[in-house]
């Protein structure tokens, strides 16, 4: 498995797209910090970027890599290798290189602008942790989609649809249900609904750590009571972990059964 991981990782690291992704974050980081020296405000801006872009890139990149390396995968399958290690290796290679681009691309400008001397360091690490989780989750989901769809166009379509659903449509449904049931106490409901969407969960986790949480008023206070405690944070991280682990298990399970 590690050999395959190493191979796909180095393959990706040498590829142009990783560089573009890395350079994009690097440039964005430097430009934003140049325009606004306030690190904690920059964290908010990056949160906006990360919760939209990281899942999108993770999904597209995952599907693309899977389809592109299909022939190589089939070659590997002919070798006496465990199927799970082939697919896990590839998955970890993709997710790892994306995470590396993200962490380095954002980390370098922030460190140069004095992250270690600022109070924003915890918020920033939370940002990176959620960014990493989102990469892991959405790459895993996209691998699942690619594995179950032989047709590239269909695979791409489903992957983009998945992203669209979790990033946009889910919030729309959430909003609708809040408005329809506005007569009822909705705190626990909105708490639960947030938990079921990794993008919402990441957004809420970061928002609550920032000053801006004062805007959230009463509902924010309920959320803060939950996520503010260590238990809440552990549960939130646990849910994110679950979101990453379940698709990976499914990937392994499906790859074992699939007829190539």
């Amino acid at each position: 498995m590690f050999k395959i991981l190493k191979y796909s990782f180095y393959d990706l690291i040498r590829s142009r797209w990783s560089y573009v992704y890395f350079l994009f974050y690097l440039a964005l980081g430097f430009v934003l910090l140049f325009l606004n020296n306030d690190l904690s405000k920059a964290v908010i801006t990056f949160m906006n970027v990360i919760i939209v872009l990281v899942p999108l890139i993770g999904t597209i990149f995952g599907v693309m890599y899977f389809y592109n390396s299909k022939e190589f995968t089939e070659l590997l399958l002919a070798q006496p290798l465990k199927r799970s290690s082939i697919f896990l290796g590839q998955y970890l290679g993709v997710a790892g290189s994306l995470t590396l681009s993200l962490v380095l691309g954002l980390g370098i400008p922030f460190v140069l602008y004095g992250l270690f001397r600022s109070e924003a360091i915890w918020n920033f690490s939370l940002l990176l942790v959620t960014g990493t989780f989102l990469t892991l989750i959405f790459t895993a989901l996209s691998f699942n989609i690619a594995l179950s769809n032989e047709n590239k166009i269909m695979g791409f379509g489903y992957a983009v649809l998945l992203w669209l659903f979790l990033a946009v449509i889910y919030d729309g449904l959430f909003l609708l249900s809040l408005i329809i049931f506005e007569e009822y106490p909705l705190d626990s409901f909105s708490l639960a609904t947030t938990m079921f969407n990794p993008i919402d969960l990441s957004r809420t986790l970061i928002l609550l750590k920032l000053d801006i949480s004062a805007l959230l008023g009463y509902t924010g206070a309920v959320f803060k009571q939950f996520f503010g405690t260590n238990l809440g944070l552990i549960i939130a991280i646990g849910v994110l972990l679950l979101w990453a682990v379940l698709p990976i298990f499914h990937l392994v399970y499906r790859s074992r059964k699939k007829d190539f």
Partner: protein
């Protein structure tokens, strides 16, 4: 002839009293050792010169026109036993004292300095610490509270007092005071024609400045920072608020300024910076907002209802999460020639005024008003998308709530 006689007698008495106006020195080694003794022995218009030292006294009742002048800030320690100085005579001056340990009570409002039904008083250069109420003016007119420093240690609202309190007092000037860590920094109740100028009120438990039933007051160039809930102006008429700055009143139930039942006020040239809500308006009519800066607030202005004929002209709205929140479809307020940092229109004829109107109410802020729980969707991509579509063609937000002539550049 009779009047001339009266006038002569008056002049003679005046000169006589001026000539006889003595200075009584008070210190540990002087003939007069306590302030109470000094007040008892002094004649009208005398000066009590209080030398450096600690005087453990309370309930000092000043019942004749005297000047209590402290030399090198003598300390008057009330030992938490009750009120310290009570003024019940006209024309009293208190200058340069350091008063500590005012008693706390749940039945009486003990103050460091209380002025009761007296006129022409002057309280200046006084430092108050560990207090319950600071300077309490009760039915006292035509006075001045100047350059005092009040530093409390209030923790709970129910057992703490206000820094400077005016109750049924008229024509008083409150100038250059610093008030910190009390319940309300400056509190006015039934007090008209008050001038509040150049004070700093910060870190107070409740409000930096609080008006109740007080009319025709002016407050200018004050700084209100980091108070529990900012400044509250309630049930008052014709208040002028100019050049103040409201900063960092940040918290779930905080605001820069709260207006409730305020009519015919003038709000000019103030700065609202980093408050959860810049101004919270409720039942306030005919108010003129001009040349104010709203910077980095959560909500710049939150309009709660029953607000008519207000005008917002030439203000700067810079980088607020929400510019205006509005809870009805009816709009009778005027927005004209403001600068909005969220404005994305263009100016083809280069006259400095945007050609497309700006709609300051976002759909999201409308939804949040209806269903407060939806605020959890703050900064979600979906919200940005529907905000954008609503801005293009408004359906839910009041369609006449717009700035038809938004400025292209912020006002200086």
């Amino acid at each position: 002839m009779k009047y001339t006689y009266h006038i002569f007698t008056f002049i003679f008495l005046l000169i006589g009293s001026l000539l006889w106006s003595r200075t009584v020195e008070i210190c540990k080694s002087c003939a007069v050792k306590t302030i109470k003794e000094g007040v008892a022995q002094a004649f009208d218009f005398d000066t009590l010169l209080i030398k450096k030292g600690t005087y453990k006294e309370f309930n000092i009742r000043v019942d004749k026109p005297l000047v209590l002048l402290g030399e090198d800030y003598p300390v008057i320690d009330g030992e938490d036993k009750g009120e310290i100085i009570t003024i019940v005579s006209d024309g009293v001056t208190i200058d340069g004292l350091f008063i500590i340990n005012v008693g706390t009570s749940y039945t009486a409002d003990y103050a460091a300095i209380r002025v009761v039904e007296s006129e022409n008083f002057l309280i200046q250069n006084v430092v108050l610490e560990k207090l319950f109420f600071g300077i309490y003016l009760e039915k006292s007119n035509n006075g001045r509270v100047y350059h005092n420093k009040i530093i409390g240690d209030a923790i709970d609202e129910y057992n703490s007092g206000n820094g400077i309190q005016l109750w049924y007092s008229k024509n008083v000037t409150v100038e250059r005071n610093i008030v910190q860590h009390v319940r309300d920094g400056i509190y006015l109740e039934f007090s008209d024609n008050i001038t509040i100028y150049n004070n700093t009120s910060s870190n107070n438990l409740r409000y930096g400045l609080h008006f109740m039933f007080s009319n025709d007051d002016v407050y200018t160039d004050n700084v209100f920072e980091n108070n529990g809930a900012g400044v509250a102006v309630m049930f008052s008429k014709k208040i002028k608020m100019r050049g103040n700055s409201f900063k960092k009143n940040w918290g779930t139930a905080s605001f820069g300024m709260l207006l409730k039942e305020i009519n015919d006020a003038e709000i000019n040239g103030n700065t609202f910076e980093e408050n959860t809500v810049g101004i919270n308006i409720e039942g306030s009519n005919r108010i003129e907002y001009k040349n104010n800066n709203f910077v980095n607030n959560g909500w710049a202005i939150k309009v709660r209802g029953a607000c008519y004929t207000n005008s917002f002209v030439n203000n700067n709205f810079l980088y607020n999460s929400f510019d205006i929140s509005y809870n009805s479809k009816l709009n009778d307020n005027k927005f004209e020639q403001n600068y909005w940092s969220g404005y994305t229109g263009y100016d083809l004829d280069k006259n400095g005024i945007g050609d497309v109107p700006y709609r300051p109410v976002k759909l999201f802020s409308y939804i949040v008003n209806r269903t407060p729980e939806t605020i959890v969707l703050l900064r979600s991509l979906f919200m940005d998308i529907i905000d954008f579509s609503e801005r293009v063609s408004p359906i839910f937000t009041p369609d006449n709530l717009l700035d038809a002539s938004p400025l292209m550049k912020p006002l200086r």
